[in-house]
């Protein structure tokens, strides 16, 4: 049993090394493949982070340009997805900072993460995306949930990143990641508390 993960790791290393080389060489075919595989996930991540559909698509485009420009910084030792999400996250925070600087003359928070906490306006993208009764119940809670918890939940339960990978994306310790996931789950669980059983339960 313990020998099983080895070939998988080797394959993953080869794959990431290939991506790193392709990015260094600005291989447009490799980029096309990466976009094809990750564009939907990237938009979804940005949606969870900023809660706005229109803005998420624009940021996803900017993220890919950043990937092209800074491709040589990807070392190929870790998976590509956490690196991609980290770029998208930094870009989103920088953009939100710039936008709010223009609107609010008052000082912006020093902590980069706190910029995400200013609630987003506009229609909820979660209601339209809910595909089950439980998801519909969660949609409302997700919209009001702190983006910091929302993104941790997405990265863990939809993207299925490891805690260490999520920590890499967030630039935070693993303990912070787990704490955000627990708190996020606790907040969302309340959508079902009070006897709202789904037909399947």
């Amino acid at each position: 049993m313990s020998a099983l993960p080895m070939p998988l790791n080797t394959t993953a290393e080869t794959e990431t090394a290939k991506i790193a080389r392709g990015l260094r060489e600005r291989d447009i075919r490799l980029l096309a493949d990466l976009v094809e595989r990750n564009q939907r996930r990237l938009v979804r991540y940005l949606l969870y982070l900023i809660g706005r559909r229109d803005y998420a698509e624009d940021l996803a485009q900017e993220t890919w340009i950043r990937v092209l420009q800074r491709g040589s910084q990807y070392n190929g030792r870790q998976r590509f997805e956490p690196w991609l999400f980290a770029i998208a996250r930094n870009l989103a925070i920088d953009n939100l900072r710039k936008k709010r600087k223009g609107v609010e003359a008052a000082s912006l928070p020093d902590n980069r993460d706190e910029i995400l906490l200013v609630s987003s306006t506009g229609p909820s993208p979660f209601e339209a995306a809910a595909r089950s009764e439980d998801a519909i119940r969660l949609a409302g809670q997700l919209q009001i949930l702190s983006p910091l918890y929302r993104e941790a939940l997405l990265l863990r339960f939809q993207e299925e990143l490891s805690l260490a990978e999520i920590a890499q994306v967030l630039g935070a310790p693993v303990t912070t990641v787990t704490s955000r996931i627990y708190r996020g789950l606790a907040a969302l669980r309340s959508a079902f508390e009070g006897g709202g059983d789904s037909p399947g339960m």
Binding site: A60, Q61, A129, L138, L185, L188
Partner: protein, 155 residues
Amino acid sequence: MIRLECDKRFRELIDRSFLEDLSEDERQVIHHHLRNCDGCKRYVELTTRTIRGLRDFTFTGKQDSSARVLEILANHTETVRQHNVQLKIWAAFAVALSMSIVGSALVYQVAKVLAAPMHFDNAQVQAGVLVFWLLPSLCSALCLLAARGENRGIA
């Protein structure tokens, strides 16, 4: 009404079980506890349902989203490539120019030595170096800037 409160240690263990692999002992502890604690059973149910609900969101992107990104990337790559070519051209021109000037100075010194036995005066040597060395080498350097990209051998 089921009490959702329970011993904090059990709840922490249950929470951890959703995020990471527990040891066999820890799994046994939870398993045993869940048999006797309706509150924790409900807690596990709700958490499972929450996680399942989270996986039931499907965001459909705009149809041409990937195509648009690829188009932007292709344009960007082309712009960067052209920019790099321009940089290389100017670098090559700078090298060619400095080689031309340094080379001319050297050729002038050699020509002066060689011209002495042939009784050429200094002005004739200068004119010779100018016509047969400096001007052709400067023209070659300038040709780098004027030639089309594909003919420069550096595009």
